[in-house]
């Protein structure tokens, strides 16, 4: 018998009509008659919307001057002068706009936070667990000392005079940081084999999830003081924070539970068979995988929370949205609500978009499944 040697054919590139830029455009925009029509309708809508927006927001906009005279002279464009003049108020709230010489305090607090977060995000910086623990357990006190001022002997800024983006960030950051561990515990508890723990966790989650945040904030602010003696009047921002954290933890718990349920039973069994205890199994095997799966859901709840902080205006706290309305309601800047809200929306968008981008990069980084 003679054997025949097989000679493999060399690899070739795909034909240019299927991989070049023309193919790219054709496939995405003109793949059928229907899609071609949609492409043209889309282009027409862009033509209708984009140029006037550009004109209003940039080309015809006013930013010079320190009062509304410039804006009143040119009514075609946006009045960014308003934002420029009121920027300290919009960023830091009433106390700091009344005491502009003190704004180094919140700026310093957020610079420290920015440094810590950067250190946490950069892959080559070591000792991340310590930095993380410092950010969560120590930094809030530093920030409080700086922003409130009493501990450092600075001019005291009572918390109900905090406001603007600063208050939004305080509420969101602490709300997220507090809700995350509670959420993990509740999600684990809901999966527990012990009925009492399970029912308590279900009760907790369903209770907070069933109430709208606005109701919870209202109760935290108005009703709780009714049940406590007047001397025990604790801080209004703190009350809002507790309400937000508990509310948020229920949503975080549900997002994490989704991840927990996606972990195959075999992972639990393999960990059990190796003799790992419940907590070692949970911390080393189950949670790392479950949290990775839940990243989109968790980030979704964080983004929602970030925007929902605007609801604290119901209890007379002036965070970003509230302070914008306040500033645009002043006699001096009456009627500039649109500029204010567009600016606030832009800030919300920047933060939410960065959270979402960071989450997807984290998802890619943690992906070890090596599926295509």
């Amino acid at each position: 018998m003679t054997s025949v040697q097989h000679i493999s054919k060399p690899d070739r590139l795909p034909p240019i009509s299927q991989s070049g830029p023309i193919a790219w455009v054709r496939e995405r925009f003109f793949s059928s008659i229907g899609n071609t029509i949609l492409t043209f309708i889309g282009l027409y809508l862009l033509y209708l919307i984009v140029p006037p927006m550009l004109n209003w927001a940039i080309l015809d906009a006013n930013i010079s001057g320190t009062d509304r005279s410039v804006c009143d002279a040119n009514r075609d464009g946006a009045c960014w002068t308003f934002i420029k003049v009121r920027i300290v108020q919009i960023m830091f709230g009433l106390f700091y706009s009344a005491n502009p010489d003190q704004i180094w305090r919140p700026i310093m607090a957020f610079a420290i936070l920015g440094g810590l977060i950067t250190a946490l995000l950069l892959p080559w910086i070591p000792k991340k667990p310590y930095i993380g623990a410092f950010t969560i357990f120590v930094f809030p006190f530093i920030a409080y000392a700086l922003i409130h001022g009493e501990w450092l002997g600075l001019k005291v800024a009572e918390s109900d005079t905090w406001g603007g983006l600063m208050l939004t960030l305080i509420l969101a950051f602490i709300g997220i940081a507090a809700a995350f561990p509670i959420g993990i515990m509740m999600a684990l508890g809901r999966q527990s084999d012990l009925p009492i723990i399970r029912y308590l966790c279900v009760l907790y989650i369903e209770l907070w999830r069933a109430a709208p945040l606005i109701t919870i904030l209202f109760m935290a602010s108005v009703m709780i003081p009714l049940f406590f003696p007047a001397e025990l009047d604790f801080d209004k921002v703190l009350r809002a924070l507790i309400g937000i954290s508990l509310f948020q933890s229920a949503y975080t718990a549900e997002a994490i539970r989704g991840g927990l349920q996606a972990i195959p039973k075999g992972q639990y069994e393999a960990a059990d068979a190796l003799g790992l205890s419940y907590w070692k199994k949970t911390i080393l095997i189950i949670l790392p995988q479950a949290l990775k799966i839940s990243i989109p859901g968790i980030v979704n709840t964080f983004i929602t929370l970030f925007k929902d902080t605007s609801l604290v205006s119901i209890i007379a706290l002036t965070e970003l949205t509230g302070i914008t309305r306040f500033a645009a309601g002043s006699l001096e800047w009456k009627g500039k609500l649109i500029e204010g809200y567009v600016f606030a929306a832009f800030i919300y968008w920047c933060f939410c978009f960065s959270m979402s981008r960071y989450a997807s990069s984290l998802e890619r980084k943690l992906d070890t499944s090596h599926r295509n």
Binding site: P264, Q267, A273, L274, T368
Partner: protein, 255 residues
């Protein structure tokens, strides 16, 4: 281990199962199972699907909870005492049909996790031992990859090495080759054969009859939750007594 337990262990019985009964809901999966396995013995368990063979070996390391009967593993009785369960699981390794490697950890981390966290072994030592076992299953070059980058056969060999890193006295195999592509079965069986030759006590649920003939000291046939027949491999394959065994053998050996 103290002297007293040593004495109990001095008999050569690795596992003894007495009047074991288990139900899933109202479904009676295991019926009055009696089984004694000696140290160093290699047992192959076979039988049609749903016969309870996987459930039986999963009872041995308490992945399944039995309702009646007695299981003694390495001198320790398996009851609801968590300490006993942990003790037994440290001594009993298990290999699963779907490998169940931890996908978020590298191969080396998969192997060192339990020695470090359960046996409190220093990381360096655990890594040295892990590399020895990876050599033994012939894939040391994959140590820094993730399970998702390996073929099924390689993953299963890693799973075997992962169990061996705990230095178990008994190994349980739950259909270790059933999820593999045909060309990968032999690489896994080769590892299992060399493990058998090293004197490990093994219980394998498998339909690889060639493997059974080559290494088994005893073949057990289960059907409908009962041990229907057991014996030496040559007797079992050539001279089965029970009708159900004959039917089963004719079905799996037909091709």
């Amino acid at each position: 281990m103290n002297a007293q337990t040593q004495q109990i262990n001095s008999t050569d019985i690795a596992i003894s199962v007495e009047k074991l009964n288990k139900w899933y809901g109202r479904f009676h999966v295991l019926k009055d199972i009696d089984l004694t396995i000696h140290k160093g013995e290699k047992i192959v368990v076979c039988g049609p699907s749903g016969s309870g063979k996987s459930t039986l070996i999963r009872c041995i390391n308490h992945l399944e909870v039995h309702q009646e009967g007695k299981i003694i593993v390495d001198g320790i009785e398996l009851n609801n005492d968590v300490k006993h369960i942990d003790e037994i699981r440290r001594e009993v390794g298990m290999v699963f049909q779907h490998f169940n490697l931890f996908p978020h950890l590298t191969i080396l981390e998969n192997l060192t996790l339990a020695p470090i966290w359960v046996r409190k072994m220093p990381k360096k030592e655990a890594e040295t031992i892990a590399m020895e076992y990876l050599e033994r299953v012939k894939i040391p070059e994959q140590a820094d990859k993730f399970p998702g980058q390996l073929s099924g056969g390689q993953q299963q060999r890693v799973a075997i090495a992962r169990s061996l890193c705990m230095n178990p006295k008994i190994m349980l195999f739950d259909e270790p080759t059933s999820a593999l592509d045909p060309e990968m079965i032999s690489e896994v069986l080769d590892v299992m054969i060399s493990l058998a030759e090293s004197g490990m006590t093994m219980i394998c649920v498998t339909h690889e009859m060639g493997f059974a003939k080559q290494v088994a000291d005893r073949v057990i046939f289960m059907d409908a939750g009962e041990i229907v027949e057991q014996g030496l491999p040559e007797e079992f394959f050539n001279n089965a007594q029970n009708e159900r065994t004959k039917l089963f053998l004719s079905q799996i050996l037909a091709h």
